[in-house]
Amino acid sequence: MDGAVTATTGPAPTDGIGARALRRVLQIIGVGQPADIAELGAGSGWGLLAHVCLTASIGLLLIAIAQAGGWRNSPWSETAYWIGTATIVLPAATRITWPRVARQERLGLVLLLGLAFYAVKILYSPIRFAHFDEFLHWATAIDIMDRQHLFSSNSLLPISPLYPALEILTTALANLSGMSVFASGMLLLAVGRVLFLSAIFLLFEGMTGSSRVAALACTVFMAGSNFSLFEAQFAYESLAFVLLALVLLTDAQMKAAHETAERSAGVGLWPVAGLLLLALAATHHLTAYFAALFFTLLAVLEALHPGSPDVRRRVAFALLSLLAAFGWSSAMGNPTAGYIGPVFEQGFQELYRLLSAHGPARVPFVGEDGIGMPRWQRGTALTAMVLVCVGLATGFFRALAVANLRLLVADGRRWKIAAQGFDSGTVLLTLLTLAFPLSVLLRLTKSGWEIGSRLETYAYLGIGFVVAVAIAVFWQGPSQCRVRAAGVAAALAIMLMAGAILGWAPFAVASRYKVSADSLSIEPVGIDAAEWTRRWLGSGNRFATDRINRLLLATYGRQTPVTTLQSGIDTSHVLFATKIASDELDAIHYAGIDYLLVDMRLTSALPTLGVYFEGGEDAAIHANPPAASALLKFNALRQVGRPFDNGMMVIYDVRSLRAPH
């Protein structure tokens, strides 16, 4: 944008000790400071990338050994796992911060680190899906493979078939290659991860003109708690983030073409942007809405300056993103309001109660089962949080300065905003960091932690950039001192370790079976039972069962688990009530239940993740594990069949009870 914009506001510091101290603080946090980003000398070739590759692969081997030991509850597995993670993280972080590293090596290091984290996820379960969300989307993919059309129902996650882009891509590859859905999904997500990291690297590089800042920003982004596992799962968010990064990159390319004489090249990118926005809209609701909001705010920022040559393009881009996100949602019957709305409402209500000291907070670093993280993990996570905050404090104004937006202390009495030709995208990315405190607060609430966790992912796009600027301009600056570089590397390594800890805990290392612990509850006997139902009962029967067996029945068994999310009927009491009364019979009738699958292992412990069935279940069932007699109460009903028994799991045929009572 052309033209200087200045504004005056607030009281300015006057002379005196307080004023001098304030001036010093302002200097440290970068108010009014220029943001000169140095490249720290130009390296050449691939440098030590191959060496770092080798250390990362040794780290992966250690992690694989740790996981193998974990399944046998070996006491050393946890230690081996975290040493392995450190072996991946530390050399890469060190090299990324080192002076005189060539652009291609920096990019290579970023991709290596991203893929190494992805490999860690695969090593946890290299032969099958293991994580809760993966089963939800696998069920949709299986439906597409079986029926060869989209939009069939998925009782585990009813909204999943309405956002089927991930499953379309995966089943396309599975059909063409003959590979399983698992292998196809893992391969596509690996490609997606390379695309994502390359795209944000180019984006940050384009904004700052520095491959060093780009590499640092990507590294800090990877330190977010969702990167190591959540964004590596076979779930729609994982693809959505790739598409979001591609849309941002396309927008940046259009802007670059617009600012140069290559306007025709920019025109050629409109269909690309449209296609990517449509793909994003068909992938994930929240990310599509985020993109629409982001581009709308970008247009508003641009429009603040009449005469900006990019306003019309920005407005058109915003309209396109809004049309894609809300058009798709509308075409699908606006499913998100009912799905996300209550989560947001409850989350923010809890946040309000928390802030007004009227509500209980989640205890940080303690799981639903009451088991806390080890001290060193808490320490690492807290240190990383402090480092991020320090990075944000010292990078925020400097990042704005990169965007040519500077807060100046003018004439000793008043402050001034100098916004000469500021870059809207950079400003908005910087402002995105303001969502970070909100995400942290939301994570302290019982219902809002999930929103906070999602919000953090978007915020980390800005956090990565701002902290990278803080490092490149302030903490490391143009210094080629290796000690200083090592200090920054240590900070980055702590942040990356904390991301892995928070992202995976408490299930980073495999262990023996636990009750209602998602990936730790999925094991061959349960899978066999689910496969048995498909073989001997046929597919599509309506089953009432617990959280884990729902996943297995829907995927390996091709059955239809009854969930409150889809049917609105809570069936937990059908399994857990000590007697069969009219409530249980009504639930069987109204939910149209064909079979009950009872897992006797539930009697051994309370649910590790806080729920036996699904969120919102009656808290009374968490007082004690269910009694075996309660689970087996249907033995007493003469008209109920018992077609299957494997010693741990029993299936009851309750079709005779479906008639109204």
Partner: protein, 263 residues
């Protein structure tokens, strides 16, 4: 019809058609995976970008967008394919190869204006990433890395396959066909060692059939059809009990069905 003039587009069309043929006709999973991956993540996007940005040089950002556009076209293609219920290997192969060929032909029609000589001289050769300077030491280190990662996956895969925390014998009795008195009785040994099983079938408490020695190795199963000697009316319970290793005092598994009734 005009022939395709651009060499890269010729290669693109040949690759698309070959990939489609391999995806449909080959049983080699590695070859099919390569061809499938190229159809899903590269060929349509490259053709589209050649049409939309014919003058753009092949750079890292270009390559990223090519893959992204391929994904986008594949997703949009899936929405179209589902309308005709053809989301299978043939449907995908035909769709993606046709889209690639059509876009490539269109791209060829959009003639690429020749750059002036001065500009050609100034345009540096671009590649996805610079490939210069890979030394033999680096190559050796990369090879060692790949080997180590391979070992890591082998260890993890081996452990995942070997993971068996619980051992269970499955026992079942399910309806057979539509007849209300026809059932199938089955046992599957999913334990660590071979076992001798015995099965006793009762109707309202009276033993009507027994199988005394069923020896099953781990992974083996046994099934038998049963036709109950009852009239086709509801209310008689057929119960099967499983005993293991000649211990007739302990009922190892129990299943039952309401004989004569079908839901």
């Amino acid at each position: 019809m005009r022939r395709i003039s651009s060499p890269d587009l010729k290669v693109l069309i040949a690759a698309a058609l070959t990939s489609a043929a391999v995806a449909v006709g080959s049983s080699d999973i590695v070859l099919r995976a390569l061809c499938g991956m190229s159809l899903v993540s590269f060929l349509p996007g490259y053709a589209a970008m050649r049409l939309l940005r014919p003058q753009a040089a092949f750079s890292l950002s270009y390559a990223i967008v090519v893959v992204g556009v391929s994904f986008g076209l594949c997703i949009a293609g899936g929405l179209a394919l589902q309308l005709v219920g053809a989301m299978n290997s043939a449907g995908w192969a035909i769709l993606l190869s046709t889209v690639t060929v059509a876009l490539a032909v269109a791209a060829d029609r959009v003639s690429m204006p020749e750059l002036p000589a001065s500009q050609i001289a100034e345009t540096p050769p671009q590649t996805v990433v610079a490939t210069a300077g890979v030394t033999s030491k680096q190559t050796a280190l990369l090879a060692a890395s790949l080997l180590t990662v391979g070992c890591a996956f082998w260890v993890a895969r081996d452990a995942a396959i070997a993971r068996q925390e619980f051992w269970a014998t499955e026992f079942w009795m399910v309806p057979r066909g539509e007849s209300p008195i026809a059932l199938t009785l089955g046992v599957r040994n999913r334990e660590q060692a071979p076992a001798d099983y015995a099965v006793e079938l009762t109707l309202e408490g009276d033993v009507i059939a027994a199988w005394r020695s069923i020896r099953l190795r781990p992974g083996e199963s046994w099934t038998t059809p049963i036709d109950l000697p009852v009239e086709t009316h509801a209310g008689r319970r057929a119960e099967a009990q499983l005993f293991k290793n000649n211990d007739r005092q302990t009922v190892y598994r129990r299943v039952w069905a309401d004989a004569g009734r079908r839901n």
